[in-house]
């Protein structure tokens, strides 16, 4: 089930419409649209879903806390796929000096369903395309 979800979204990206390969890759890695500080529905939804499932540890605006990393930094290094893998399967980094545990969200409907939206929001934050706080929505077309 987990594997299926990941491969579906990769597949979707690979078989996307007739875009140049580079554009498709860019859309996959930077799937957000921000104009005049206003965001598309996906980023906005990502912001809210982040608030539900991620903010408790990773802090407001993805900026990290005393007990979980700053995701606006992490996403400078993680690809979309690595991000999805970490969220779905979780990660443990427990040593004598560090006790970091990211739970697996692979069976959490509100995360898996909106994983790409959460990524879009955090990537926009990480790229500096979106500031802190609650983003404003673009008018619906």
């Amino acid at each position: 089930m987990k594997a299926l979800l990941v491969s579906t979204c990769i597949l979707a990206a690979l078989t996307g419409p007739a875009l140049a390969a580079d554009d498709a890759k860019d859309d996959y890695e930077r799937p957000y649209h921000v104009e005049d500080g206003k965001v598309d529905q996906a980023v906005y939804n990502g912001y809210r879903r982040y608030g539900n499932s991620c903010l408790q540890c990773h802090g407001p605006d993805g900026a990290g806390s005393s007990y979980a990393p700053n995701l606006t930094e992490s996403l400078k290094h993680l690809t979309h796929e690595q991000f999805a893998d970490t969220v779905i399967n979780g990660r443990q980094n427990v040593t004598s000096s560090q006790q970091n545990v990211m739970p697996s969200f692979g069976h959490v409907e509100d995360v898996v369903t909106y994983l790409d939206d959460i990524y879009a929001y955090l990537k926009a934050r990480s790229d500096g395309a979106l500031g802190r706080g609650r983003p404003e929505r673009m008018p619906r077309k």
């Binding site: 806390s65 007990y67 006790q99």
Partner: protein, 603 residues
Amino acid sequence: MLRRAALAIALAVSATVGASAVFPGASANDELLRLQKDPNQWAMANGNYASWRYSSLNQITRENVGQLRPTWQFSTGVLRGHEGGPLVIGDVMFIHTPFPNRVFALDLNNPGRVIWRYEPTQDPSVIGVMCCDTVNRGPAYADGKIILSQADTTLVALDAKTGKEVWKIKNGDPAKGETSTMSPLVVGDKVLVGISGGEFGVRAHVTAYGLKDGKQIWRAYSVGPDSDILFDPQKTTDMGKPVGANSSLKTWEGDQWKIGGGGTWGWISYDPELNLVYYGSGNPGTWNPAQRPGDNKWSMTIFARDANTGMARWVYQMTPHDEWDYDGVNEMILADNIQVGDKRVAKALVHMDRNGFAYTLNRENGDLLVAQKYDPAVNWASHVDMETGRPQVVREFSTAAGGEDTNTQNICPAALGSKDQQPAAYSPKTGMFYVPTNHVCMDYEPFRVSYTAGQPYVGATLSMFPPKGSDNMGNFIAWDAGKGKILWSKPERFSVWSGALATAGDVVFYGTLEGYLKAVDVKDGKELFSYRTPSGIIGNVNTFTHKGKQYIAVLSGVGGWAGIGMAAGLGGDSDGLGAVGAYKALSDYTQLGGVLTVFALPN
């Protein structure tokens, strides 16, 4: 059924023999009753059963506290948030850490030498289901045992001399999001412990286990059928009236109560004369109020329960149908002879709630006497109706009125509360309460969420920021619980997240998030002493004597929910706040690291 019959009999007996009579086999713990009165030791997390955090020691005074200096320090080797504080029994100090929940017994005759240390083996996956850091508020001492409630809900009794396990039991299931952060309380022959997991849709409870063997004696849920919450529909009262049958169930829709929350992760107090224990419950289920219509009883409630049976004597729900995450778990301070108007209340309970109101009640019967704001910024309710006990919610700040997918702005206080678990101090000498507070507001947008066991069940997005026009995010205040008024208020850059200590030397101690241990004058809050410890303080200050000399001790180690603003400061989209100096990231002032610091006057 059998169990219920037995409870009914016990209740009938306790009614006939009277409140102060001693039960055979369930008598008050003489050792603890003696220890809690001995200022040379610090035998309970909050100083005594009444949670005063007060000491009659007076070697350190307002005149000489300025000369206080650290005498020894000890690193715990753990980085994350260090809540709670040391215990001192005789010549031994016991300190603890957040996950992995180490306990150290330190020799005061040879400062810092480790007599024993304990580190449980726990599945680290529990870390991922602790809502806001892996804090722990410390063990309890009784009968030669140190009793620790670990992150994974294992309750373990250690031999205080050797650190060897005497017994251990499991109080909950982390796979369902049940975890533990609280400090247990030993009452008579029982260990009382609650459970965390309000952000995971758990159904919380307080449970009494036998001090000797860890066998379960009673369990009282916060929400559910009367038999689960240990209510007697006729004898349990709310605002002076019997609660009636199904008082919890009828305030929930369908099966919602089964994931009804009501976390019991705060402090427990005890009145040995009344044989009642007091504690509060936390938020109901999801933070999205639209998904749980009704008053959601008995979340956000003060409970008074019979210590022997767990049966509820009285209850008072402070925040019916919560819309802001104002958990009611803060400490219950049991103070005597409080003057309220022309009435002298022999036995009062004073509680500074997350919702920004400070309540004074008669702890014998739950009568509500005072409910006033202890931070003028509080705006979600205009006042509490003293007839019904209900807060009068201001529509503009009601996230339920705003509805799902609407961002309700500038609500004060924030979900952190005007005060969180960091316990206040009460000085019987001045009759005043010294309260560490948060001065933070929020925007709150509820939205629909689905429940998955063991996964976050939050349903709201928040941003937090200082109140408009404020450049400080905390205050340390003196509170008059009879009048319901602030006596003085000392601003702090960040939330004050450290438990206070008042002493007969006319000083009050507390720590700051930057890491300062401070001492202020009881009469006006004037700062008399400050010392910068290695990390931010979210621990609670204590005092004791060793070989006749008074010491002050505190754990540093920034983290906890206060650590949420650590990296970048609390955010928000409120224009114009960015320029405010106090708005800066906590990481500009301190870094992680657990350290004990012990202070004394020079010889």
